[in-house]
């Protein structure tokens, strides 16, 4: 039999028709659909046993209680135990995977270099630790270590010895304090928000100003003048001239917060002038209270004192160790730099990324990042009682990282004991206060808890709450000299409330995929100012301040005060800035 071309065609045609009667083509269609549903490269979420773990967020001093939803050991989402978390807290479990995160660093080399530099310290030259969030147990370790070194110094921003009690306040006057943003503990502040009238004196319509009952648009930098004016140390006319408010406005605020009306005046760091004003208003012991620190073991008392950076003589530090692992108040680098000894000072930075002070350091040593880090969080400004809570790690830290306090302790030859546990023991021995546990929402007096159980509970997200101090023996600080009312040359650059860096990569939702937050590379100014600088929205420009130059993108916003530039990065803040179009 010969096969013709026609036969081949017939066969092919028949096969095609026959194939339609088989499941094959239909299966192929379904498979195409399935394949397009499982697009290559799409990660599959890991599955496993789901459980809840409790800890505290150490990203900022608020230290919110956190319930972590974990798949196996891996946290997949975080939620607040008492109310919601801020966006930084919500995305905290993603920080270990931040692309800018450091994982390896020259730890032993740095250790040798530091030991060598300490040995070679000249007379009058110092070894110093700069702690950005003092009051932690790690801070105590650093202070003890510096006490052991004969030329050691412990430098930290001055902490206010007071706390505020928002639950008692009927009126709150906020002098540019971001009360409703990142000032106290967000959930606590909002839990009592309906109980007080909020007056926000703020040069820009900040988020707090937007939700305040009254917003007083004051001149930038005139917060202290307003405090002094309200305290009667300046006349209404003087205050009005400095703040840019009308005398009538100032007098009306003065009446609203008048003596004995359960008023509270706050500013960003509770400066002495503001504390004095509160005392004058009769708030001492009511809306503003002294707060003790959680107990520490008696043998720790031999620690180096806390020195303010401003009090350190210039050119005196030979070795500077900066603990940036727990972010706090921002200190401009030039303020730090002028304290360094001339001629090759050694700067070692402990940080999660090289983008902070690491840019100026000889060594940047990677630290564990929340939620890998074990740390405690000193009480927030709106917590009248002392407390002790641990950011218990939810994840194991990678191998290459170093804990700053351990590094510093080993320099001084302190035993590598577990300082947190020692402190917990001391607190337990004190026998005061209560233990609050979140998993079962219980509050038990410490006396009724065994030491081991106490420690275990703290590590499972428990919190020790002490007793508030009786309001005795307060010496009101004297109002300080006035800041010069300078008609600034150029624009005043104000930074939005400092972010507890790092931020999760998901923050693109807030400033790239929407314009909710000011992006780190953006500045906002009033359309008039923009026109004056020759820039318009969307332009690239350079922001020039005495602290440096930054390439930025321009946003215009008529809610920004004319003469003011709003920036997201604290290092951009300055009294005289210039915007130049690129």
């Amino acid at each position: 039999m010969t096969t013709t071309r026609r036969d081949i065609f017939k066969f092919a045609g028949g096969s095609a028709l026959g194939a339609l009667l088989t499941p094959a083509p239909w299966r192929l269609i379904t498979d195409t659909a399935l394949w397009s549903e499982n697009w290559p490269g799409i990660p599959r979420p890991a599955r496993g046993e789901i459980r809840a773990k409790f800890t505290h967020c150490s990203l900022c001093p608020a230290g919110c209680a956190v319930r972590a939803r974990c798949v196996g050991e891996q946290p997949v989402s975080l939620a607040g135990v008492r109310g919601g978390l801020c966006p930084f807290g919500v995305t905290g479990h993603q920080l270990p995977y931040h692309p800018a995160r450091l994982r390896q660093g020259p730890v032993s080399e740095a250790m040798a270099a530091v030991a060598d530099a300490i040995a070679k310290c000249g007379p009058g030259e110092r070894v110093a630790v700069l702690d950005l969030r003092p009051g932690r147990t790690a801070s105590w370790t650093a202070r003890r270590a510096m006490a052991v070194l004969k030329n050691g110094w412990y430098i930290a921003p001055v902490q206010s010895p007071v706390a505020v009690d928002l639950t008692k306040a009927r009126t709150v006057l906020s002098l540019s304090a971001p009360l409703l943003e990142r000032w106290g503990t967000p959930a606590n502040v909002f839990a009592v928000r309906d109980g007080f009238r909020l007056i926000q004196a703020d040069p820009v319509e900040s988020r707090t100003a937007a939700l305040a009952d009254l917003w007083l648009p004051i001149r930038p930098g005139s917060e202290e003048a307003l405090a002094l004016g309200l305290a009667g140390q300046l006349t209404s006319a003087e205050t009005a001239a400095m703040t840019g408010l009308s005398e009538h406005q100032i007098e009306s605020v003065g009446q609203t917060i008048g003596f004995g009306r359960l008023s509270l005046v706050i500013d960003r760091a509770m400066s002495p002038a503001v504390v004095a004003l509160n005392v004058k208003l009769g708030g001492w012991g009511r809306t503003i209270v002294p707060r003790a620190e959680a107990p520490v073991p008696p043998e720790w008392k031999k620690a180096a004192p806390v020195t303010d950076l401003a009090a350190v003589p210039d050119r005196s530090i030979r070795v500077l160790l900066i603990d940036e692992s727990a972010p706090g108040e921002y200190l401009p680098w030039d303020a730090i730099e002028k304290k360094l000894a001339a001629g090759n000072p050694l700067v070692v930075v402990f940080a999660w990324s090289a983008n902070g002070y690491g840019r100026y350091a000889k060594y940047v040593l990677p630290t564990p990042v929340y939620p890998e880090a074990t740390d405690d969080i000193p009480p927030a400004i709106d917590s009248p009682a002392p407390c002790f809570r641990i950011a218990a790690p939810l994840l194991a830290a990678p191998a290459g990282v170093v804990t700053p306090s351990e590094f510093i302790a080993s320099l001084a030859g302190l035993p590598p004991a577990d300082a947190l546990r020692e402190r917990a023991r001391a607190i337990h021995q004190g026998g005061r206060g209560t233990l609050v546990t979140y998993a079962d929402a219980k509050s038990v007096p410490v006396k009724e808890v065994k030491p081991d159980d106490f420690w275990k509970a703290l590590n499972a997200g428990g919190c020790w709450v002490g007793q508030a101090l009786p309001p005795a023996n307060f010496r009101a600080p004297v109002g300080q000299a006035l800041p010069p009312a300078n008609p600034s040359q150029g624009l005043v650059v104000l930074a939005t409330p400092p972010a507890p860096s790092p931020a999760s990569p998901l923050f693109t939702k807030l400033y790239q995929e929407s314009d909710l937050l000011l992006a780190p590379n953006c500045i906002a100014l009033h359309p008039q100012d923009a026109a004056r600088c020759g820039v318009s929205a969307g332009n690239r420009a350079t922001l020039e301040t005495p602290n440096g130059k930054w390439s930025v993108r321009i946003l215009t916003d008529s809610s920004v005060r004319p003469g003011v530039v709003l920036a997201a990065r604290p290092e951009m803040a300055s009294a005289s800035g210039k915007v130049v179009r690129v």
Binding site: I29, T32, A33, W35, S36
Partner: protein
């Protein structure tokens, strides 16, 4: 190239000249295919469309070419169903235009959707309430009809006629042509209409939303009439263009005039209907959904001029020109009017697509603008180049204008 493929009795330019003519189109097509390929491989991030401008140049293009391609069904309807025999002179050309427009539109749609591999889901899980389902079904079916209608034109080619089976097949197909014309008309009516319905049903876009008759919003009917009106105009325009480019008389002037008259008549009906619809929309539909119609025209550049241009300048004026016998007899007037009618429909489709999406609906939303990326323009140009190429080849090797031989004087 194979000059013995050219129909007997027709004179076409030399192969060399033909190659010179198609070379730029081929280059444009290659560039366009590259652009489209980028969009398919890299994803639609290559375009300037976004969540607000979910539709852009391509959907505008689709709506416009499908309206322009309506000449195929409407000429077929007039010729085979209503027996307007003069139109036999342009029916083949109209079919090629239709095929080009529809296949081009479908090709662009395949690039436009995010997951082309799932396009068949519409047939598998159709949502009968969706205008897009209606569009998809009708367009794919009608594209098939157009292919079948195109076949006899291809099979009449000198070389292909040498194969007896093809001859028989072509003869049999020819008997079917009345059925095909009927089916084509039915399908076309529906998809032209449902393309209009696409926007008319958008309750969330008060600028586009229209009340309707039965299940169809008024734009359903407006699109049918406008497409029927502009189809003959486009056939007229292309025929005139081909005559100019090939420098040959292809049809009797009376045929062009007839096309103009039909177009003018339907355009007049469309202008009337559109005016009534606009008035109802301004005074009732839009205010009822909370939007005073005046606000749509307060966003530059979309002033009321656009309404004037759409209805009067590119609607009423060409309609009147084409309905006035004296003006119509003048080729210059006739062709200009046809071009204006085409522009009018394009403008209408532009307004429906772009203005609808640019206007804010939420009170605190922004008015947004959109410019297509080069990849979008490239893909757009690919369709134009593809159309020019298919038409050029068809014109060279198939007999698109039956009267050409008779009128060929030299």
């Amino acid at each position: 190239m194979a000059n013995n493929l050219i129909a007997r009795g027709l004179k076409r330019c030399s192969t060399r000249r033909f190659l010179l003519w198609i070379a730029p189109w081929a280059a444009l097509l290659a560039f366009g295919l590259y652009s489209a390929g980028l969009c398919l491989v890299e994803g639609l991030n290559q375009t300037n469309m976004d969540n607000r401008f979910a539709f852009g140049l391509w959907i505008f293009l689709d709506l416009t070419v499908i309206a322009l391609g309506a000449g195929a069904f409407f000429t077929g309807f007039l010729l085979y169903i209503l027996k307007v025999d003069e139109l036999r002179a342009v029916i083949n050309s109209a079919v090629v235009i239709g095929l080009v427009c529809y296949s081009g539109a479908v090709a662009v749609l395949m690039v436009d959707v995010g997951q082309p591999l799932r396009a068949w889901f519409t047939f598998w899980y159709p949502n009968v309430h969706s205008m897009l389902t209606e569009v998809t079904f009708c367009i794919t079916c009608y594209l098939t009809v157009l292919f079948i209608e195109y076949l006899p034109i291809v099979l009449k080619n000198r070389k292909l006629r040498e194969i007896p089976t093809f001859l028989v097949f072509e003869f049999e197909l020819h008997k079917l042509i009345y059925v095909l014309a009927g089916v084509g008309t039915f399908l076309s009516f529906f998809h032209q209409g449902s393309l209009g319905g696409l926007y008319g049903v958008l309750r969330g876009r008060p600028f586009a939303f229209r009340e309707g008759l039965a299940v169809w919003p008024s734009t359903f009917f407006l699109f049918i009439i406008s497409a029927a009106a502009v189809g003959p105009s486009f056939v007229l325009l292309t025929t005139w263009l081909v005559e100019k480019i090939s420098r040959k008389p292809l049809v009797r002037p009376a045929v062009l005039e007839l096309l103009g008259r039909i177009s003018g008549l339907l355009l007049a009906v469309y202008v009337l209907a559109k005016t009534v619809d606009t008035l109802v929309w301004i005074n009732r539909t839009s205010p009822e959904s909370g939007f005073p119609a005046a606000q749509y025209y307060s966003w530059r550049p979309f002033g009321t001029w656009i309404l004037f241009a759409e209805i009067v300048l590119f609607g009423l004026v060409p309609a009147l020109i084409m309905l006035t016998p004296r003006l119509r007899a003048h080729t210059g007037w006739l062709v200009s009017a046809a071009a204006m009618a085409c522009c009018g429909v394009a403008l209408n489709r532009f307004v429906q697509t772009i203005q609808t999406l640019a206007l804010p609906t939420l009170s605190f939303d922004k008015f947004l603008s959109y410019y297509p990326s080069w990849q979008e323009v490239g893909t757009f140009l690919a369709v134009v180049a593809y159309g020019a190429l298919v038409y050029s080849f068809s014109f060279r090797y198939f007999q698109l204008f039956p009267e050409e031989r008779e009128r060929y004087q030299i």
